[in-house]
């Protein structure tokens, strides 16, 4: 009997701690499958992979990705990845970060990793809220969106409009490839996988900094069930955060 599908080796057997309806599980699998495929295609030697987990909901990602892993301080994953990559330049190095981590406390580290053209890939999961601490306003929280620290809804006059990291980083000369994706339907899940794999391939070719932003739901902190949350993402997040390639030097 031939095997038509098997679980990716790049995920451990540890059960995810994520809430029902959270998109982290899908995104983890896409990252792991991409690495697995690159190994099977002979483009990457097994063992030459290092991942950096953030602070936030995916803080325990080091327990899930089945490779050498770092757990970084809040926002510092791109700096940790830089150190690791410089020390072992032949490896595939990725960071996995949420929007509180990357778009708030870690803005300096992500901008300068991109600026240096650091040969790393960042998977940026944007769910417009702080998940792990219980639903506070993030720089990515939409105008009017209610959170535990914006109980009357985000007020643009006082808190600014949500920051668009992909568009911003696309302007940085050292950034090689930036794309925003979502995992709200099968077609978009496949597109996300393709983007992640492309970012990894670019890195293996020695190109510059790559980031894949993935829009994600947070049913728990949005106060919606998983189906409603996906609908909210489609009706509110995707119009403000348009999907697509923001920069691809390889395609120019």
């Amino acid at each position: 009997m031939s095997v038509v599908f098997e679980r990716t080796q790049l995920l451990t057997d540890k059960q995810f701690h994520y809430c029902p309806g959270c998109n982290h599980g899908i995104i983890h699998r896409l990252v792991a499958e991409s690495i697995d495929e690159l190994v099977k295609e002979g483009k990457l030697e097994a063992g030459n992979v290092m991942g950096v987990a953030p602070v936030g909901c995916s803080v325990f990602a080091y327990d899930y990705f089945n490779c050498d892993m770092f757990e970084a301080a809040h926002g510092r994953a791109p700096a940790v990845a830089t150190g690791a990559k410089r020390a072992r330049p032949g490896t595939l190095v990725f960071t996995y970060q949420g929007d509180g981590d990357l778009a708030s406390i870690g803005t300096a580290e992500i901008v300068h990793a991109a600026h240096r053209g650091e040969k790393i890939a960042t998977i940026f999961v944007n769910n417009a809220i702080y998940g792990m601490t219980g639903g506070q306003m993030a720089p990515t929280t939409l105008v009017g969106q209610k959170t535990t620290t914006s109980p009357y809804g985000r007020d643009e006059a006082w808190c600014g409009a949500p920051i668009k990291m992909s568009e911003m980083l696309a302007e940085v000369p050292g950034a090689y490839y930036i794309e925003r994706c979502a995992v709200n339907n099968n077609a978009n899940i496949l597109k996300t996988k393709k983007a992640i794999k492309k970012a990894f391939q670019y890195q293996l070719e020695g190109k510059g900094f790559c980031m894949i932003e993935v829009l994600s739901t947070c049913p728990t902190n949005w106060g919606l069930n998983p189906v409603e949350a996906m609908k909210w993402l489609e009706e509110n997040m995707i119009p403000y955060y348009p999907l697509g390639v923001k920069k691809d030097k390889g395609a120019e």
């Binding site: 089945n66 490779c67 050498d68 700096a79 150190g83």
Partner: protein, 359 residues
């Protein structure tokens, strides 16, 4: 071996390279900028990596990343920059990453000034970052001593899996002294010796050997176990790693305690007081963590000793450890300057003469 006249900061940087450091992450700040400058030219010559980070915060986290692969990594800064590094230093301590951090102390608090100071003693030996942790902390008093300490710093860091901190000051970094530079050490990452490091684990290998560089232990029991392990390591380091110098203390009536370059001023004062017939000696901790409590206590509790004078360029930070060592056994006085003004031999002599006359 021939002596070479070298500037402190460059000599320390070269010693780090000779000790096997191949990765330097840092950010310019006076009075230690010559260290990153030297590294930027020297690292490419030895196949190493110099990276000017966007901030001290990023630099120490790059140290975390590179040290996690088993490489010998160093960063340097001066007081306000070392304050910024504290987050990452705490993470390195928690994740048990060997690395070397140089603090070329300058005056504070805040921006302070750019002259030499000793006001980061508390920050260095009493914490700095969050959590129950310590750093092997050395306070060299000459450029040669800084070189000599550097040559074993990485080995100690690796033996105990804890960061090493150099508590130097602007004078050591800025002055030139004749030094003997040791031979280059041939260091290569050995995954057998560093089984905890990220060196290429792959699916199918023993899951227990997967590299996970981490300081989070989410349940109370495992964090408690982790901290007990750290404390056991610190107890071992306290037992084995105390370094100090006694200078003319055998028959002394007065013991002066001082660390770093201040101890050199004290040494001159001791010699000049001895010429005047005053029996005085110097006790100089070289490791300030672990602090040589027992050796100091033994030195001071001799019958000949009447009193102790602690001299520092701060409000009297090491003074607390001196008093802890002596436990009220002898009177302890303090003489120091705040900010970054160094005491003169004349001032130290006057203070001892006052103490002798019972003023």
């Amino acid at each position: 071996m021939a002596l070479t006249l070298m500037k402190g900061s460059e000599a320390i940087a070269e010693a780090a390279i000779r000790a096997g450091a191949r990765f330097f992450f840092g950010y310019p700040i006076t009075p230690q900028t010559e260290i990153p400058e030297y590294m930027s030219a020297r690292m490419p010559e030895v196949g190493g990596c110099f990276l000017q980070a966007e901030s001290e915060i990023a630099a120490i986290n790059m140290v975390y990343g590179a040290a996690g692969t088993g490489a010998r990594v160093i960063t340097s800064s001066s007081s306000p920059g070392v304050s910024l590094k504290q987050e990452g230093i705490s993470y390195c301590a928690g994740a048990q990453l060997p690395c070397v951090i140089l603090n070329v102390m300058r005056g504070g608090p805040g921006l302070g000034n750019i002259q030499a100071s000793q006001a980061d003693y508390f920050q260095g030996v009493k914490g700095g970052g969050n959590g129950d942790y310590h750093l092997l902390t050395y306070a060299p008093s000459s450029v040669q001593e800084a070189i000599d300490i550097m040559m074993f710093a990485f080995e100690k860091a690796e033996k105990y899996r804890m960061p090493v901190l150099f508590l130097a000051d602007g004078i050591i970094a800025q002055m030139m002294e004749p030094v003997e530079m040791p031979e280059m050490v041939d260091y290569k990452v050995d995954p057998e010796k560093k089984p905890w490091a990220c060196t290429g684990w792959k699916p199918g290998d023993d899951p227990k050997k997967r590299g996970v560089i981490n300081s989070i232990y989410i349940d109370t029991e495992s964090l408690s176990v982790h901290n007990e392990e750290l404390q056991a390591i610190y107890a071992e380091a306290k037992k084995n790693e105390q370094l100090w110098e006694c200078y003319k203390t055998e028959d002394a009536e007065f013991i002066i305690t001082a660390f770093g370059t201040v101890a050199r001023v004290v040494k001159t004062a001791v010699d000049e007081l001895r010429e005047m017939g005053v029996k005085v000696g110097l006790f100089r901790p070289i490791s300030v963590w672990p602090f040589p409590y027992e050796p100091l206590r033994e030195t001071v509790l001799r019958d000949s000793v009447k009193a102790v004078l602690d001299v520092e360029v701060n409000e009297g930070q090491m003074l607390e450890d001196v008093r802890l060592a002596i436990e009220g056994g002898k009177p302890v006085e303090f003489f120091g300057h705040l900010g970054s003004q160094f005491p003169t031999t004349g001032e130290i002599k006057s203070k001892i003469l006052e103490m002798k006359e019972g003023k």
